[in-house]
């Protein structure tokens, strides 16, 4: 099956496609959130060790995993834009960055709120938390660099390079922090030592899918804005229904 990918890589086509996709992802996010929250709070049983506090996991874990995953996707899009000079992929990269940064922040926030009752401290310098913090810094660096370059093409290419360097560095940073942590005999608290109840797993997966759909929906919305901003002089933009009225 030969799909003409290049057709979809033109901003004008993608603008329409994204517009059609947004409601689907938005609705599936809503439904999944309702289902996921129901399972997380009413079906999943109380944990023996952590009592009710473990329920933070249902938002914390999806936020952490997606914030890391989105960074990789962003770096991938940025690399595509840098190598093949496709403008849409650079636009996707800059549309993903704020969502990823917010999820990284959410992951830190929920991590702190989970850590306080479990470890007795809001913040523990464990490898995962520290890497998440650095991931947030990397997102902020990407956004700041993109925002401070006026020429959009230079902004795309420079921040793409930064994203790629960052994605190469994240594992190095993770292992160096982990190593540092073991040397200092820091708090090595395991999150979930015992096996998870089936309902807990189901809750977490549903929430993960919900956050995932949400992230796709909101970044598609954002990429539509970016396309409009960047293509404002193009003919097809002035022929759009929402512009003409």
């Amino acid at each position: 099956m030969a799909i003409n990918w290049f057709k979809y890589s033109s901003p004008s086509t993608f603008y329409g496609v994204a517009g059609k996709m947004v409601p689907w992802f938005a609705w599936s996010a809503t439904i999944l959130f309702v289902a996921g929250l129901y399972i997380s709070f009413f079906v999943a049983p109380t944990d023996v060790q952590q009592s009710e506090a473990y329920r933070i996991m249902f938002i914390h874990v999806p936020a952490s995993i997606l914030s890391m995953f989105i960074y990789l996707v962003m770096a991938g899009y940025a690399a595509l834009g840098l190598i093949f000079n496709t403008r849409l992929s650079s636009m996707m990269a800059s549309a993903l960055a704020p969502t990823g940064a917010l999820l990284a922040f959410l992951s830190l926030w929920t991590g702190a709120l989970w850590g306080k009752p479990m470890w007795g401290a809001w913040w523990v310098w464990d490898a995962r938390l520290t890497s998440e913090l650095i991931l947030l810094f990397l997102y902020l660096g990407f956004i700041a660099l993109h925002a401070s370059i006026d020429d959009p093409r230079r902004a795309d290419r420079a921040s793409a390079l930064l994203a790629i360097i960052g994605s190469v560095n994240v594992p190095i940073i993770y292992f160096s922090v982990q190593w540092w942590n073991t040397l200092h005999q820091g708090a090595s608290v395991k999150f979930t030592g015992t096996s998870m109840h089936v309902a807990m797993q189901q809750g977490m997966y549903t929430m993960m899918l919900a956050v995932w759909s949400y992230a796709i929906a909101v970044s598609l919305l954002r990429v539509r804005c970016i396309i409009l901003e960047r293509e404002c002089k193009a003919q097809w933009v002035s022929e759009l229904a929402e512009v003409r009225q």
Partner: protein, 204 residues
């Protein structure tokens, strides 16, 4: 020698010019014309490989300059808006370094002779920061004398120069063309080279 086909350039997301075709062979003098913002500097910077053309090709002796890379750079001199000279160094040191970077081995005698020809007698060892704007431009232009590259790409070479220096430039360009050189330049001042028909390239 230098062939440009279907060249289009964009600055940011904005297209400057497209479908540009011309070629330059030994002994040619080409003046690029156009209003402010028409892409004169961008064209010259694209020829130098700083900017990637949006479409089209630039070929030197039949080969794309992107593939040629260093081999192309060895055959050209570029003089931009900026003089590329260091205030802290004197004219002699500046030229020694820039000639060194361009890959030409020059001795001090040659540099001093070139500086004198450019009307900078007695200023060879003064720090450049005490020189006037026009004198600094002359120091920058001396680079042309020290290079034996056939292609000169000059962006507004005459800014800040007095009448005498403009005459000198015309003389230099004439000599270069006689030696089978090529010159492509932009200017807002008239530049007449005796015995050579200037070709025009208008960017709209």
């Amino acid at each position: 020698m230098l062939e440009i086909s279907n060249l289009a350039c964009s600055r940011g997301d904005h297209l400057l010019f497209s479908d540009l075709n011309f070629s330059l062979s030994a002994g040619d003098l080409l003046q690029v014309q156009g209003a402010n913002g028409s892409g004169k500097t961008s064209l010259l910077r694209t020829l130098c490989g700083f900017m990637m053309p949006a479409t089209g090709e630039i070929r030197w002796c039949g080969q794309n300059i992107r593939e040629l890379g260093d081999a192309f750079y060895a055959e050209m001199v570029y003089l931009g808006h900026l003089n590329a000279i260091k205030d802290e160094l004197n004219a002699l040191e500046n030229l020694r370094i820039s000639a060194g970077l361009a890959g030409c081995k020059v001795d001090d005698k040659q540099v001093i002779a070139a500086l004198r020809r450019m009307g900078l007698r007695g200023r060879e060892t003064l720090p450049v920061k005490v020189l006037s704007q026009g004198q600094r431009r002359r120091v920058a232009l001396t680079r042309l004398l020290l290079s034996n590259a056939p292609l000169w790409i000059l962006d507004e070479p005459l800014t800040a120069l007095d009448v005498g220096a403009v005459g000198l430039m015309q003389e230099l360009i004439g000599e270069h063309l006689l030696n089978n050189g090529m010159v492509i330049y932009t200017t807002h001042q008239p530049l007449e080279v005796a015995g050579v028909a200037t070709r025009w390239l208008a960017l709209s």
